[in-house]
């Protein structure tokens, strides 16, 4: 019998405590709301300050971008990628020369002389797992995820959905399509490197 009434008493008190909490939240609705009204308000970009001057500490995980003029075609990012979403094809050219009709600049911004012409540099963003692993080994800091310390180069952009899946394949190589053949040597000579294949 005591249990019967204590049950009733417990129910009433604990339920009232619960009701009080929700009522307080309702009353303080103006202050406590955490909703972000998305298309108008954007998520504030976290203020990141890694504390190092060098640009390799790029910690924002948005879409991948390649400064193709700086790429030397070393394939380190291809090897680092756990999901094989980076595909690179290169052709050997004379070291350090600019080939203007193929948009090839011989020297990177770090001063490294390029010896390979990139005929293909594709990243399939629909396969990317945003692990950031390709960013770290890059010797020229030319592949990075947009935003962060490199935001002067690329705006941060979280919304890059496409209607067509093939639009998510980002093609960075600047060699015009009709000229790829011209720079591709015959396969016998075995200069073509295709790791991703």
């Amino acid at each position: 019998m005591i249990r019967y009434f204590s049950n009733i008493w417990q129910s009433i008190t604990t339920l009232l405590i619960g009701l009080r909490i929700t009522l307080v939240h309702l009353a303080k609705a103006r202050k406590g709301i955490v909703t972000l009204q998305y298309p108008e308000e954007r998520w504030p970009r976290p203020e990141r300050n890694i504390g190092f001057s060098h640009d390799s500490y790029n910690v924002i995980r948005s879409r991948l971008h390649v400064d193709i003029d700086d790429c030397i075609g070393c394939l380190k990012c291809v090897r680092a990628c756990p999901v094989d979403c980076i595909h690179i094809k290169t052709v050997k050219v004379e070291k350090g020369t600019d080939i203007l009709e193929a948009n090839h600049i011989g020297i990177t911004s770090n001063g490294t002389q390029k010896r390979l012409l990139l005929t293909r540099f594709d990243i399939d963003m629909s396969e990317c797992c945003y692990c950031n692993l390709c960013v770290y080994p890059c010797p020229e800091d030319c592949i990075f995820m947009t935003g962060g310390p490199n935001s002067s180069k690329q705006e941060i952009d979280y919304e890059f959905s496409e209607y067509n899946r093939s639009d998510l394949i980002y093609r960075f190589a600047k060699v015009p399509k009709d000229q790829v053949e011209k720079y591709t040597p015959p396969p016998k000579e075995k200069v073509k490197i295709d790791v991703a294949g």
Partner: protein
Amino acid sequence: MGIETSTLDRSAIHGEEMVLNIGPQHPSTHGVLRLQVLTDGEIVTKITPYIGYLHRCFEKHCENVTYEQVIPYTDRCDYVASMNNNFGYAVAMEELMGIEVPEKVHHIRVIVAELNRIASHHLAIGTFGLDVGAFTPFLYCFRDRERILDLFELLCGARLLYNYIWVGGVSHDFPIGFVEKVYEFLDYFEPKIQEYNDLLTFNKIFIERTADVGVLPADVAISYGVSGPNLRGSGVKWDLRKNEPYSIYNKFEFDIPIGTGAMGTVGDCWDRYYVRIRELEESVKITRQALDQMPREGDVHAALPKKIRPPKGHVYSRTETPRGDLGFYIISDGKPKPFRLKLRSPAFTALSCIDEIARGWMIADVIAILGSLDIVLGEIDR
């Protein structure tokens, strides 16, 4: 145990048992899980779990990528506690290779792992509330969990799948101002636990729904390999952070909350739930200590060769994730890719005992028991 059914004269009722499929599409299976349930009216007489809907060949994948590249895949196993999974893998690899990591790395790892534990328990508490029908605590939990995810976004740029703890260190140091932000969060968060308690934990309806329901006795729990908060809910004082300290957990003062049967029997749903609530407090404690003791200067990566090639051998190492013992069995043949990598996931064993503890209860209780076990299907199916 169970609902009393013997009062009915069974022979007089020409009822038959009905097969009910809870899932694969169901609001409260916490993923893609199918429970084939044999019901007699509302009462469940047999449960057969069918898993594998989320199987994505984690172990086969790992045999084809290098040791560094496994880390993004471990993220995706227990996707609500990725830091802890990274941590477990890193600990296993360091044991296999015999690496000593710098003091600062240990602290950083403990801080992020405990923060992620808080986030994961938030999800567990919130969805458990949702399973028994309370909607509001779920959103309160998500509100606070979001703050941790913001912290992690600040830390490593990702909100859910971090790839932050690496073999031999962490990917990079704390950003400037991060430590203050963590303190700020802890100060904000501590009073919120009382709010959950008032709103859900000591709510009479909630107690009615969870106390005495789905009792998991200690010996059954151990036999089933149930671990983590589920095991502690059964009254076993067992926590790897205390009993087999890895990293630097032996430097911190904290308690292991265990189920006491305060509202019903030891090992019921309420105990499992309340252990998680109490663990929030303990995690806050650990995080504070780690933040206080953390050396501010120092390297965040042990000296490692460019390509990780562990010596031939094997290791079984386990760490305490929010869901329990996460074991990694790694066999190395001296090549840069693992020869065999087995992940022993805590949710896998927790789910395997569902038939044992949920038989004889009602459909609504099965949902509650499933919620109290706090399973993550990404980890069960791997």
